[in-house]
């Protein structure tokens, strides 16, 4: 029974991906990509990785989908100017890709089963940190340096996006498309939903210590709610030059770094937690990171400044 379900799910995902690749209209392709993300989240649930399913649903499908949809709508008028490649070229590319797929598939099937695993090690050392969720344990204890550097990558990407603004608009306001289209239904939704989303984001961040959830998932929900408020025109996008906004952006990584550096003094190594204080420190760092991730992802989706700041 379960096998039949999994086969149909995998088949649907492949069909949707093929449709996304070959359809002519970009907007339809992006729409199909969002549904594709939803079904991929179902696959993650079937692979017993609920943490990843939460991330995929929130970021991979939700926030990425909103970003691509607005880009597709903006670029719609320019779409017909591009000629598709010839049939011979497509056939050659198809053959090459089929060979690569077959090779990868063979490798994936030949990989050792059961795979070499760190699960027993992670599970055995988890009680020392006081956490209950092994994935959060990996993210914030065993591989904390990766997580810290990833925050730096996020901030760097944001610097890259911001630097695309025209010089005289530096520090201005991102033009979140389209800024105005008053609609009472939309306003109602933008006033009702964020309170629910905020609560759910905090819940996910809080529950992440012991159950699936965490800073990324919570932060992505905050992003979605913030984007909703801005899209509905209830609140304008903030000026990228605001000091408070920039402080929020770096608050999470900085706090994490401070906790990591203090590990030298207290526990004898970078990003080491003193025994007994691991869980409270991680929850504090996660809270700050949730806020920073939410703000960073939202600003990434909002794009570079396109209007000057009011004096």
């Amino acid at each position: 029974m379960a096998l039949g379900f999994d086969i149909s799910l995998a088949f649907l995902v492949v069909v949707l991906a093929a449709w996304t690749i070959q359809v002519h209209d970009t907007y339809s392709a992006v729409l199909a990509f969002v549904v594709f993300g939803l079904l991929v989240a179902l696959i993650w649930v079937r692979l017993a990785s609920v943490d990843v399913a939460l991330t995929e649903a929130a970021i991979g499908s939700g926030v990425t989908g909103a970003l691509l949809l607005s880009a597709a709508a903006l670029l719609r008028p320019t779409e017909s100017t591009v000629a598709p490649p010839g049939a011979a070229w497509c056939t050659a590319a198809g053959v090459v890709c089929a060979i690569i797929t077959a090779g990868l598939g063979a490798i994936a099937l030949l990989l050792p089963d059961p795979a070499p695993t760190l699960a027993p090690l992670a599970a055995a050392n988890l009680p020392q940190s006081g956490l209950g969720n092994p994935v959060t344990g990996v993210l914030f204890v065993y591989r904390a340096l990766d997580t810290l550097l990833e925050k730096v990558v996020l901030v760097l990407a944001l610097v890259g996006v911001w630097s695309l603004a025209v010089d005289r608009l530096w520090g201005g306001i991102p033009a979140l498309w389209p800024a105005t289209c008053p609609d009472s239904t939309l306003t109602f939704l933008a006033q009702l939903l964020p309170s629910v989303g905020l609560m759910l984001g905090i819940y996910l961040c809080w529950t992440g210590a012991d159950h699936p959830g965490g800073a990324f998932q919570g932060g992505a929900l905050l992003t979605a709610m913030w984007l909703l408020v801005m899209l509905a025109g209830v609140r304008a996008a903030p000026a990228t030059g605001l000091l408070s906004l920039r402080l929020l952006l770096v608050a999470g990584p900085t706090l994490f770094l401070v906790i990591g550096l203090s590990g030298f003094a207290i526990a004898g190594a970078f990003l080491a937690y003193p025994p007994g204080y691991g869980k409270p420190l991680i929850v504090v760092a996660e809270g700050a990171l949730t806020l920073s991730i939410g703000v960073t992802l939202g600003l990434l989706a909002a794009g570079p400044a396109e209007r000057a700041r009011e004096p």
Partner: protein, 109 residues
């Protein structure tokens, strides 16, 4: 053939399809979408390996899971950067192509 094998094949097919899309779709935005399809395929391969490594009462190995979570977030930031570049390009040139103006192979592509 177990469920995990099915998902492994699904993941590799996604990589192939996405690669095909990157090569054959002329519009840059479609290339970005195809890139995300490849990304999903690669992440799913990680998920398959994690699920095969289930042990110690955990449904899947937590280390690949954590890698994929960071991977999804980084993939989003790369997508956002690419989309911002693309929109700026479209604004600057009023065109939406990576080809050079004279129709020959562009050095941008």
């Amino acid at each position: 053939m177990t469920s995990t094998d099915i998902f492994a094949l699904c993941a590799t097919t996604l990589v192939g399809l996405g690669l095909f899309g990157i090569i054959t779709n002329p519009q840059p935005l479609r290339k970005i979408v195809a890139f995300n399809v490849i990304g999903n395929g690669v992440f799913l391969l990680f998920g398959v390996v994690a699920h095969r490594g289930a042990a110690a009462g955990l449904g899947a190995d937590p280390v690949p899971q954590a890698l994929v979570i960071t991977g999804i977030v980084v993939a989003f930031s790369a997508t956002a950067l690419a989309v911002a570049l693309l929109l700026r390009l479209a604004k600057q040139t009023h065109l939406l192509t990576l080809e050079a103006d004279d129709g020959s192979d562009g050095d941008l592509s």
